[in-house]
């Protein structure tokens, strides 16, 4: 079966890229769900939480929930989360927000402090991989 590619969009809307090829927010390949790295941009492309890493993380995790559900998955199916932050000072506020959204899920995690994300105002980005168990697919 072809992969399902949901919420297609193109980057020219925010990046000034000279090409306007579509990307998408979520891909479901069989039972595996892959998300675009989520940030303080809500799903209507409005930026939330300028200068506030915790607010950006909260928006990112709200997006994760919506996107997983649109792909037929749920938060309890998350297997791996990679959290990118641009300053160590953001770790505690960001992780507490993410931890609230993931209470009781117990995913594997990796956290990296990086030089930057797609736009300078992005302070946190969250990568998610989820798998829908065979008997829930």
């Amino acid at each position: 079966m072809a992969h399902q590619r949901l919420r297609k969009f193109n980057t020219s809307s925010y990046s000034g890229d000279k090409i306007a090829n579509d990307m998408c927010m979520v891909v479901r390949a069989g039972n595996i769900v892959f998300l675009r790295g989520q940030t303080g941009f809500d799903l209507d492309n409005k930026f939330v939480g300028k200068g506030d890493a915790a607010a950006q993380a909260d928006q990112a995790m709200k997006n994760v929930k919506v996107l997983l559900e649109e792909a037929g998955a749920k938060m309890a199916h998350i297997c791996k989360i990679t959290t990118y932050i641009t300053d160590r000072a953001y770790r505690e506020p960001v992780y507490n927000v993410v931890g609230r959204h993931l209470k009781g899920v117990f995913p594997c995690g990796t956290g990296l402090i990086v030089n930057g994300l797609a736009l300078p105002e992005m302070l946190v980005e969250i990568d998610i991989e989820a798998v829908i168990p065979a008997d829930e697919a």
Binding site: D17, N21, M23, C24, A29, R91, L102, G111, N115, P133
Partner: protein, 277 residues
């Protein structure tokens, strides 16, 4: 059946961190094993080894990480031989050789694909490196590992590096396909267009297409990409080159600016997630 989640923890119980975050060291699904990024800390969070922030300390931390990984995979019914991809993240280029040589000793003969980043830091300042792995247990059928090579015979940018690892360019594990992080070097290890992130990304995507083809897949099987660049100025040209090559295949893209890659000559690297449809 819900996934099995082994060695559950909460971050607030470790190293006096004020973080309420439920995690697990391992998540086992029907087909795959996910693992929390491993570093030089004990699995029970009791202590971190090699806290002196030297290259020797980085090697000590890598030794602990590989020991932990061996234990965790064993508990999940797998072995190091089931590893498909490793992501090696270090916080200083000086740690590269000691960390990789340690990994290479433990993974002798496994030939995973590999991506290596230099980043600014990890969960705590004393952590010098983190190892991520993608693991698919082999049940009778061995994973297909194509274009195997030894790191010391390979080119990293314009350099050779004695990092002592058995790697390969593509792993096929069931329907999942893992590629080595692709850069501006062609598959014969020639780096062209130095400094131009767009040209490097275009070469990387030509490699991606060729490697997917050799594994019996194609660009339409790509689901996600993580694009790493070493400077914000590289982001737009690299992204444009990647998207242009993907054409009409919409994928989930993450974009990260890192401190460095395998060699200072490299401006970009792309990790590909592909599932044969």
């Amino acid at each position: 059946m819900p996934h099995e989640r082994l060695r559950k923890f909460n971050v607030r119980d470790w190293f006096a961190q004020g973080i309420d975050w439920d995690g697990a060291m391992v998540v086992r699904t029907d087909d795959e094993i996910y693992v929390t990024g491993q570093n030089g800390s004990e699995l029970d969070g009791s202590r971190t080894h090699g806290t002196g922030r030297t290259a020797e300390d980085a090697a000590i931390q890598a030794e602990i990480a590989l020991r932990n990984l061996t234990i965790l995979l064993g508990e999940a019914g797998a072995t190091l031989d089931d590893i498909c991809r490793i992501n090696v993240n270090i916080s200083d280029r000086a740690y590269r050789i000691p960390v990789y040589r340690t990994i290479g000793r433990h993974l002798r003969g496994v030939h995973p694909v590999s991506t290596g980043l230099i980043v600014n830091g990890f969960a705590r300042p004393e952590i010098l490196f983190t190892l991520d792995v993608a693991v698919v247990p082999q049940r009778g059928n061995r994973h297909t590992r194509l274009r195997r090579y030894h790191s010391d015979d390979a080119q990293y940018g314009f350099e050779r590096q004695k990092i002592g690892c058995d790697f390969c360019q593509v792993v096929r594990a069931g329907r999942r396909i893992y590629l080595r992080g692709q850069m501006g070097q062609n598959l014969d290890d020639t780096l062209t267009d130095i400094g131009d992130a767009g040209a490097q990304a275009a070469q990387a995507m030509r490699n991606v297409e060729a490697l997917l083809g050799e594994a019996g897949a194609g660009l339409a099987d790509i689901v996600k990409l993580i694009l790493y660049v070493t400077d914000r100025a590289h982001l737009a040209p690299a992204r444009e080159a990647v998207l242009r090559h993907l054409g009409t295949i919409p994928c989930a893209l993450s974009e990260i600016i890192v401190k460095g890659l395998a060699s200072p000559d490299l401006a970009m690297e792309v990790d590909i997630f592909a599932v044969q449809s």
